[in-house]
Symmetry: C2
Subunit: 270 residues, 2 copies
């Protein structure tokens, strides 16, 4: 047993969907969540910048004595996971591999679509993750940069959202995929619009898979906390006008306590 | 005469429209441009964060020995101009007042619309700027958060862009304004779509007004550079995948030289 908290970071508050999934499956675990809201979004920044930000986020979580780190941000997982795994004294998992394993279980045709930010898609991280487990599947990626701002604007069923989804996804539809990975924390909130275009195929939101992976690794390594209180401490690097409203959309419950912190002491030179 | 460069900062590369206007009117002036691309956008962050970022940007420009500072970012001008003016040993202007003065010259009915980021609109900065010059005009604001990501995606004439413009602007149309201020560096690129909704009214893009204001102040203060080479040095805090393509849209010419810099030494505690 290990009573130290789980550390989770994301570029913003979309990663709270992962918190929600962990709370459901591992209700006794304490969680430290860090959202780098002062520098979001990550998906339009450079690889170098994301690696640097991710290291700073990791250093903050380590300073809070976490036993395990989850990178809840797909852009960060895409380009920084290896670096963070090498640098961290505690185990680190990202959000890509758990989703990839789930997609491989679900697919029948082996034609799998992935949508995400430009950084995630063009990094090739999903392609590499699939190749670890399968030589035969075909991976078709599509960057959807407007999906995050649409979710943050709350336009989950605006006609413009459907039109944009159609523009992004029509070619994936024509490609005849049978499984689609939602490779960004925000995209599950657009699932209804995405389904209108893509129809009756398999959809993979990795949040639940990440929680299952944690449960499995905790059991193997004796890291479970069986008598904790399930406290969630939320740290954000900026408190913008509507972060609470957006955060609650992801967390699925009121977000009553949060702190603004500075990462100044964790900053790296460059 | 003063041969030191003009310093300009923006959250990203949209402020290059101001560089373009200055180059046209004051072709001999050297310019140092700083785009804080690692932390963009500013319009969705908090007032505190924008003030801090703006101070760091100012300190960088001052370290380059600029003679005058232009805040080319509307969000930053909205909430940080006073702070920066008080802290800076050289004169500082923003992008709001020059546009406001122009709008007051153009309006006949005194009903004036302003569009911008949520931060700009809800800060009340335009309302306050108008009140300096006029008690009688009526100011109607509307935040348009999706316009910046649409421009960055390059969807200048996508049907979704028109639909989104219609959603944001329909109420301003009904309010019967006769002048509309484009209160964000990115919005002039959407002018064709905005005109489809708003029709034949006056439109104000402050870039040219800012250049005129500079020319006027330089003449008054003896700050002109009459035999410089018109060098423009572009510094960015991050070089993302498509910054060059987007930057050239704003600058209106090839962007051949630029440097990535860190603001680490200019960072403020908090």
């Amino acid at each position: 047993m290990n009573k130290r908290p789980i550390g989770i970071f994301d570029s913003g508050i979309g990663g709270l969907t992962v918190v929600k999934a962990i709370k459901r499956l591992l209700p006794r675990e304490d969680i430290i969540y860090l959202g780098d809201t002062a520098r979001l979004p990550y998906g339009t920044k450079s690889t170098d910048a994301i690696i640097q930000f991710s290291r700073e986020n990791t250093n903050f979580l380590l300073s809070r004595n976490v036993k395990f780190i989850v990178i809840a941000c797909y852009s960060s997982t895409s380009v920084a996971l290896d670096t963070i795994q090498q640098a961290s004294p505690v185990p680190v998992i990202g959000v890509i591999e758990p989703g990839v394993r789930r997609a491989l279980k679900l697919t029948r045709t082996g034609r799998i679509g992935v949508i995400g930010t430009a950084l995630t898609i063009y990094s090739g991280a999903y392609e590499r993750a699939f190749r670890k487990f399968s030589d035969s599947c075909e991976i078709l990626g599509r960057a959807c940069p407007l999906f995050v701002p649409l979710v943050e604007e709350g336009w989950l069923d605006h006609p413009a959202t459907e039109l944009i989804a159609r523009t992004y996804l029509e070619s994936l539809k024509e490609d005849g995929i049978d499984t689609l990975l939602l490779g960004c924390t925000h995209y599950p909130l657009l699932l209804a619009q995405i389904k209108k275009v893509m129809g009756d195929i398999n959809y993979v939101d990795a949040s639940n898979e990440v929680a299952s992976e944690l449960a499995k690794q905790f059991a193997e390594r004796g890291l479970e906390n069986l008598d904790g209180n399930g406290n969630v401490a939320i740290y954000l690097t900026d408190l913008s006008m509507n972060f609470k409203e957006i955060g609650e959309r992801f967390l699925g419950e009121p977000m009553n306590t949060f702190s603004r912190i500075s990462l100044r002491e964790f900053r790296l030179g460059s």
